[in-house]
């Protein structure tokens, strides 16, 4: 059977670091990038006698995420110990939740090829992150452990095995990420590992009811790697089956350098985590009043926002989705629209700039919206200048680049760089005359009926004017001077 005769079945486990200031079980800072072990204390170093102390904010954030994703918030949930030895795990166990997580059910909703999809969640639970092993610290090849990350709070969000393609998986992740970022519980940073994902991948003959044997794939820290890893893994499993073999349950690691997944441990080698309820922490009780308050305080979520952009501002679905899918960009968009003081027309222009040149500049610079020098007010101003005819398309592009780079105001850039659009008829007429005089042959051909040459003359004029001529005025002037073809 060829690849097309197989169904792909994916389930995703996302680990999202929560944006609390302190760790889940102690008061240490969660800030990224400090000197190794600068953010540690007896609790997160697992000194003898130290006990975990639950950070309330973690529970509040878990409740918020659960509500936003439509989960049932459990009035009582229980922390459990997941036991295994590893140097980056100082207690020799991870405090997680097992049989009784804080959230059950729920779903992630997103669009796929214009169709609405809803992928159900199994559960969301709270747990602590591990530290990081650092290898080859010295010439003797010794290793060290940095425990700054040990105890940083995580939400583990587990989907049902309902995703049918890697495209769907990517859209699922983007939508989930957008929700968490909009809630302010996660920064959505895949590269730094604050939003990570493992995938359970299996294949089965098209239409078969029974799921195939799954493999868990780890270490995919970008959407691109997820795509590569899952595509590789699907091909691998199909090849195994085609060759008459059986897919073995195992954990596999994605190797980004080779674009492959590699067996990490087999079912036989799988850890027995010996879960049991964490005796150092009483069950977590979530007060219904807290749930009600959290529900009332939920911000507008990305899908609702995209719908609003379409219905109230008339943005095309794709544009609305792009903006709403990045909560920081959406906030920028809202602020720019407000600064413009205008409605749907300005909204479309702002959206075009945001999804076009601004997105390109942001990509090139690698800057997140909160680090942009361009302010929402500046983008609104630029759009205003365009509408007023003060600056033309090509000039506006330059203005934007300068504003994005320096944070200057668009009006000042227009002034200083002399990018104002020229609409003065006399000045334009003078240029038109020069251009026509320089191309007598073309003028002949135009007048003989070759109307297409109009563009050539307009182009020449614009070139002469370094792009600053007002296109409408230039067009009219050229036509007038040439007379009808």
């Amino acid at each position: 059977m060829p690849l097309a005769d197989f169904d792909v079945v994916l389930g995703l486990e996302v680990h999202a670091q929560l944006l609390t200031r302190s760790k889940i079980f102690c008061g240490c800072s969660t800030a990224f990038g400090a000197e190794p072990n600068a953010h540690t204390c007896p609790v997160c170093l697992a000194l003898p006698g130290a006990l975990p102390w639950l950070n309330r904010e973690v529970v509040e954030m878990a409740v918020r995420a659960g509500l936003a994703l439509g989960c049932a918030i459990q009035p009582t949930s229980v922390f459990a110990r997941k036991n295994y030895f590893y140097p980056d795990l100082p207690k020799g166990y991870q405090i997680s939740q097992y049989e009784r997580p804080i959230c059950l059910g729920g779903a992630v909703e997103f669009d796929l090829g214009g169709e609405e999809r809803r992928v159900r969640l199994t559960r969301i639970h709270m747990e602590e992150d591990a530290g990081k092993n650092l290898h080859d610290l010295a010439a003797d090849g010794s290793s060290g452990v940095d425990l700054n990350r040990a105890g940083v709070p995580l939400l583990e969000i587990v989907s049902e095995p309902e995703l049918r393609s890697v495209d769907e998986a990517v859209e699922y992740l983007k939508a989930l990420r957008a929700v968490l970022v909009a809630l302010g519980v996660n920064d959505g940073n895949l590269e730094e590992g604050s939003f990570r994902c493992d995938a359970n991948v299996s294949v089965k003959p098209r239409g078969a009811a029974r799921l195939g044997q799954r493999c868990e794939i780890k270490n995919m820290n970008s959407f691109r790697f997820l795509r590569q890893a899952v595509e590789f893994e699907v091909r691998r499993q199909v090849e195994v089956i085609e060759a008459g073999g059986k897919v073995e349950q195992e954990t596999r690691l994605f190797d980004p350098a080779r674009g492959e997944t590699r067996a990490m441990r087999s079912k036989e080698e799988a850890h027995d985590y010996r879960y049991f309820p964490e005796p150092d922490l009483p069950p977590v009780r979530v007060d219904p009043a807290l749930v009600a308050a959290a529900r009332a305080a939920l911000p507008e979520l990305p899908r609702a926002r995209a719908r609003r952009y379409q219905e109230r501002l008339g943005l095309p679905a794709a544009d609305a989705g792009l903006i709403a899918g990045e909560p920081e960009v959406a906030r920028f968009f809202d602020a720019a629209l407000e600064a413009s003081g205008k409605g749907a027309e300005a909204a479309r222009r702002i959206a075009n700039w945001l999804n076009g040149d601004v997105a390109r500049l942001a990509n090139e610079s690698g800057l997140a919206p909160r680090d942009w020098r361009l302010s929402p007010g500046a983008l609104a101003e630029l759009v205003g200048l365009i509408e007023a005819g003060t600056v033309g398309g090509p000039g506006a592009k330059q203005v934007l680049e300068e504003c994005f780079r320096s944070g200057a105001s668009p009006a000042a850039v227009v002034r200083e760089k002399g990018l104002a659009q020229v609409s003065d008829a006399a000045a334009i007429d003078a240029v038109v005359e020069r251009v026509l005089a320089a191309s007598p042959a073309e003028v002949e051909r135009y007048r003989a009926g070759n109307a297409k040459l109009l563009g050539f003359f307009v182009g020449q004029v614009m070139k002469e004017m370094k792009g600053k001529g007002n296109p409408a005025v230039v067009n009219a002037a050229v036509k007038k001077k040439l007379g009808g073809p």
Binding site: L47, K91, Y93, D280
Partner: protein, 489 residues
């Protein structure tokens, strides 16, 4: 002077300090001399912090001179089990794996004693990681019973009981997971209190079995123990299992006697296995209560026969996880090794003694996939049933009374080769830990033949330590001053 001082109990010494009749320095020197003179035989201390004690005593005297005594414990020489973390002072848990480890912080209970002005004499011997009933599992040296040096002081808080009995300290702190305060208190003829689970913070106490461990005092008298408990009890935000209920006043009604008290006598605690001489003393104590106006009520704790079995699943399971942190990575012993696996295995093989290893294996097995439901989960259900037994009993009585241990202190080496026999030493004490209830041991005379102390166990309602202490005090007063052990004469 020294001998007179040592004859005072804690509260009497406190009165003398308050009246300015004696200084903390004098008391501290008396204790240090006593340790010097006796501990070579007894072995209660793993570490004596003499210089620090002298400095603490000088500071206490200076406060007293200014009229700024912090309270009844200010200037009193005490000592703590080497399971309590002490800032800058080596803390080993009785294990080679922590040898040389100097913690950067004080356990909450220690910090509270220090804040009350107590002078800390040093760290007391124990079974490794508090696992044992005879103190013979100490990785460093055995501890001996001041009543008879051939016998064990009990365990795991053997040093804590022996130090009080030998009058080396006016009071000590121990921990009790399955009887580790009450059994040695009984064996050494001192008072030992295991409070309700959650009454005293466990923060900074090396964990053995987290759902069972509880800190408590050992002292010569019930009043002394009450005073010490008062100092350490109460909520600690660093221990989420510590109760937010305010601590009771353990001294206010201490002398109110036993009249009207309903004392439950569980029939299951007087069956086979209880040594007749021990039973005789316990029955005598019960008779005294009747004489004092208490009423004896027969109660039943039908599930207590499963207590030892349940305990030896739950405690090792939790221990197997709690002891995982001793891996050679961050502190303590690290075996020389070429790779990670070798480092783990080498460190733990050479660092842990046989009993921790046995319990790690038991616990790891009990939690394994496929066995969890049959062992750990079932044991937790038994635990619930045991608690229900007590709840029912407390409908008919105010405290439950019975033996602490089936025998008096046994000889060193007597049970070492038979772990199961050793485990049965805790057959009467374990239930209170499983049910999270307060319990204590109060001396009730010497064994008629063996002339060794026997303890009466009282178990109370949750957080009702005050009633327990009042009942114990009534018996203590009725019995008159107890004899002192040979090592304290």
């Amino acid at each position: 002077m020294s001998a007179e001082l040592l004859a005072l109990d804690l509260r009497a010494l406190s009165g003398a300090l308050a009246a300015g009749r004696v200084s903390s320095r004098e008391a501290t020197e008396a204790a240090l001399s006593r340790i010097e003179a006796t501990d070579g035989r007894v072995g209660a201390f793993l570490r004596v912090t003499a210089e620090r004690a002298r400095a603490d005593a000088a500071a206490a005297d200076e406060r007293a001179a200014r009229g700024a005594r912090r309270g009844p414990l200010d200037g009193i020489p005490l000592a703590v089990k080497d399971l309590f973390l002490t800032e800058g002072v080596e803390t080993t848990a009785g294990s080679r794996i922590l040898e040389g480890y100097r913690p950067p912080y004080d356990a909450t209970a220690v910090a509270r004693l220090r804040a009350a002005g107590a002078v800390l004499l040093g760290k007391l011997n124990l079974d490794e990681f508090a696992m044992g009933s005879s103190n013979e599992n100490s990785a460093f040296k055995p501890c001996r019973n001041p009543w008879d040096l051939a016998r064990t002081p009990g365990g795991s808080s053997g040093g804590s009981a022996a130090a009080v009995a030998a009058r080396q300290a006016w009071g000590t702190l121990g921990t009790d997971t399955g009887g580790s305060i009450r059994e040695p208190a009984s064996f050494c003829g001192v008072v030992g209190v295991k409070p309700t689970y959650g009454r005293v913070s466990r923060y900074g106490v090396v964990a053995f079995a987290s759902s069972l461990d509880q800190v408590g005092p050992l002292a010569r008298t019930v009043g002394d123990a009450a005073l010490l408990l008062q100092a350490v009890a109460g909520h600690d935000e660093r221990d989420m299992t510590s109760s937010t209920l305010p601590a009771g006043d353990y001294l206010a009604r201490l002398e109110e006697g036993a009249a009207g008290l309903r004392i439950g006598v569980p029939r299951e605690w007087f069956g086979g296995g209880l040594e007749p001489g021990v039973e005789a003393r316990v029955r005598e104590a019960l008779a005294r209560y009747e004489k004092l106006g208490a009423r004896l009520v027969e109660v039943s704790l039908p599930h207590s026969r499963y207590a030892v079995a349940a305990y030896y699943l739950i405690a090792p399971a939790e221990a197997s996880s709690n002891l995982a942190r001793y891996d050679g990575v961050r502190y303590g012993l690290r075996a020389a090794a070429r790779g990670l696996g070798e480092m783990y295995a080498g460190t733990r093989a050479s660092g842990f003694g046989p009993e921790p290893k046995r319990r790690i294996m038991l616990g790891t097995y009990a939690l394994s996939a496929g066995y969890y439901d049959a062992y750990y989960l079932r044991a937790q259900k038994v635990r619930t049933l045991i608690r229900r037994d007590f709840d029912r009993a407390f409908e008919a009585c105010d405290v439950v009374a019975g033996p602490v241990a089936p025998t008096v202190a046994f000889r060193l080496g007597e049970k070492l080769s038979d772990p199961l026999q050793m485990y049965l030493a805790d057959v009467y004490t374990i239930s209170a830990n499983l049910a999270a209830l307060p319990g204590l041991s109060v001396p009730c005379g010497l064994h008629p033949a063996e002339r060794m102390p026997v303890g009466l166990q009282l178990v109370g309602r949750p957080f009702d330590e005050a009633t327990l202490l009042r009942a114990a005090r009534a018996l203590e007063r009725e019995q008159g001053p107890p004899p002192a052990p040979p090592e304290a004469r």
